[in-house]
Amino acid sequence: MLYSEKVMDHFRNPRNVGEIPDADGIGEVGNAKCGDIMRMYIKVKDNIITDVKFMTFGCGSAIATSSMATELIKGKSLDEALALTNQAVVEALDGLPAYKLHCSVLAEEAVKAAIKDYYDKHNIAYDEEQYCTGNCACCHMHDVHEE
């Protein structure tokens, strides 16, 4: 099989799909041209992510990694969510094929982008370099694929 049972489970029954109309932070990463876009919504209270939802345009692993990433940050503090690595998402999904690893990077970036948006909206200082530059090559980790 191409994907692990866990990946297929999160693909078939994605957790936290949808949008949060009054979200405190929204992050969107990826590029339709490259075939995957993730959008993540977060609700934050007292520095804790109280709710999270996502929408994804992409392949099976893009949907599964988005779903898993939302599970991993729900109820966590912003700092804990910021510490989420793509590797942790991959491990939680029992692995991904090598050429699909970029999806997990995208999931990590989506979480960071949503938190960055929250910081921006609430005038909270942060280190710019930690966040998605909007350059697909970072996530795809191979051929640069610019507009």
Binding site: M8, F11, R12, P14, V17, G18, E19, E28, A32, K33, C34, G35, D36, I37, M38, R39, M55, T56, F57, G58, C59, G60, S61, A62, I63, Y99, K100, H140, H142, D143, H145
Partner: protein, 394 residues
């Protein structure tokens, strides 16, 4: 299971399987051996050659058995390039949407000093004769244009291309892997110099194909080591496979009209019904295409997810999305007909066979819109399209 990936490969028919069986443990002699037992295999091998030749209106001595379409394409193009190089002609004309067996061979020749012109195939997926004519030069040694495209099924004006090439004394090769056994082919009437075919695309076994080379063309050797295939491709022949292919092709040609009519009817039903999905479009010319080929794009979704959900619903299908190709770019064929990247990612190819039933098609007509709708609901691209933040391409 509903199998709708017949451009990928087909089921070996019962008749073909039966025809192949004796060669495994009864008539298993080596066709190169002198004794009667071996010669019996040789006889069947030559029968197969005559059967294949007849289906193309070729002569038996013009048929070379190979391992399949990719080998035939490689062999034909490299041989034509060698002929060209000897006459200092190092220009080749092809198209942007050939199979990679052709494109990668051409890439290699480019690195060896050949120049290749890739003709555009336009929105309908068909080359234009005037553009071909314009591209022809005094140093053009080969025109290689596929008979019918493997993804969108569009059929090229092969007879007209052949006539033009013959007039200009340029060799003409066609990759007919998808066309053989599905549409009528006459290498003489169509002025085809070389033609590639593959057995498993018409209910024959995998690992077998053929290359037709018109008599008089100096085909270079592919494999050294024995007298098989007139000394040009050494190695003990796969008589079972070759005979299976011949029987399969004979059947395909005999049933062609009837099967094509059935497939066209079912295929058109798919186009009509799935065309009702908003913001969808047919890829390639609707009329000038293989009778069994359906290919559409659905905006706002990605093909691999669609295939996985179809698989869950018991349907085997194919897509030109980047994720199914294992690269970042979607299908070069869909890009060649002008589909934007983001739209090309959302393509679906369904390819029918003589075994496809109307019930199966009706099931697919019910399932596909449900899945497209489901995926669109979670797609941020679709959301942006709906909110007017992004422009519809379809």
């Amino acid at each position: 299971m509903i199998y709708l990936d017949n451009a990928g490969t087909t089921k070996v028919s019962k008749k073909v399987k039966q025809a192949m069986l004796p060669f495994f443990d009864e008539d298993y002699g080596n066709a190169s051996s002198l004794y009667t037992f071996g010669q019996r295999a040789k006889e069947q091998l030559e029968n197969a050659r005559a059967m294949v030749a007849k289906c193309l209106n070729a002569q038996p001595r013009e048929i070379y058995f190979t391992s399949g379409g990719s080998e035939s394409d490689n062999w034909a193009i490299n041989a034509a390039a060698q002929i060209g190089a000897r006459q200092n002609k190092k220009h080749i004309i092809s198209t942007t949407f050939e199979h990679h067996a052709v494109l990668h061979t051409l890439k290699k020749l480019e690195s060896q000093g050949f120049e290749v012109t890739y003709l555009p195939v336009h929105e309908n997926g068909i080359v234009r004769l005037d553009e071909l004519k314009q591209a022809m030069r005094l140093d053009t040694c080969l025109v290689t244009i596929m008979f019918a495209n493997n993804e969108i099924g569009t059929i090229q004006p092969i007879a007209e291309i052949g006539k033009l090439c013959r007039e200009k004394k340029i060799l003409f090769h066609t990759d007919a892997v998808q066309a053989t056994g599905h549409v009528a082919i006459d290498v003489v009437a169509m002025n085809i110099d070389m033609l590639s075919m593959s057995s498993h695309k018409f209910h024959g076994p995998k690992g077998v194909g053929a290359l037709y080379v018109r008599q008089g063309i100096a085909l270079s050797n592919l494999i050294e080591g024995g007298a098989q295939e007139r000394g040009k491709r050494a190695g003990t022949e796969n008589v079972a496979g070759i005979y299976g292919m011949a029987v399969a092709l004979q059947d395909a040609v005999a049933e062609m009209k009837e099967v094509a009519a059935r497939e066209t009817k079912l295929r058109d039903k798919l186009f009509t019904e799935l065309g009702k999905i908003p913001h969808s479009a047919i890829n390639g010319d609707r009329k000038h295409r293989l009778p069994n080929n359906f290919n559409m794009c659905f905006e706002g979704i990605e093909g691999e997810s669609l295939l996985l959900l179809l698989d869950d619903a018991g349907v085997c299908a194919s897509s030109g999305s980047a994720c199914t190709s294992g690269s970042l770019d979607p299908s070069h064929v869909l890009l060649a007909i002008g589909r934007p990247h983001e739209v090309a990612h959302g393509s679906l190819r369904l390819t029918l066979s003589k075994y496809t039933t109307e019930d199966e098609i009706d099931y697919v007509i019910k399932k596909v819109p449900e899945i497209v709708d489901y995926l669109r609901k979670m797609s941020p691209v679709w959301d942006e399209l709906q909110k007017g933040e992004r422009k519809y391409a379809l």
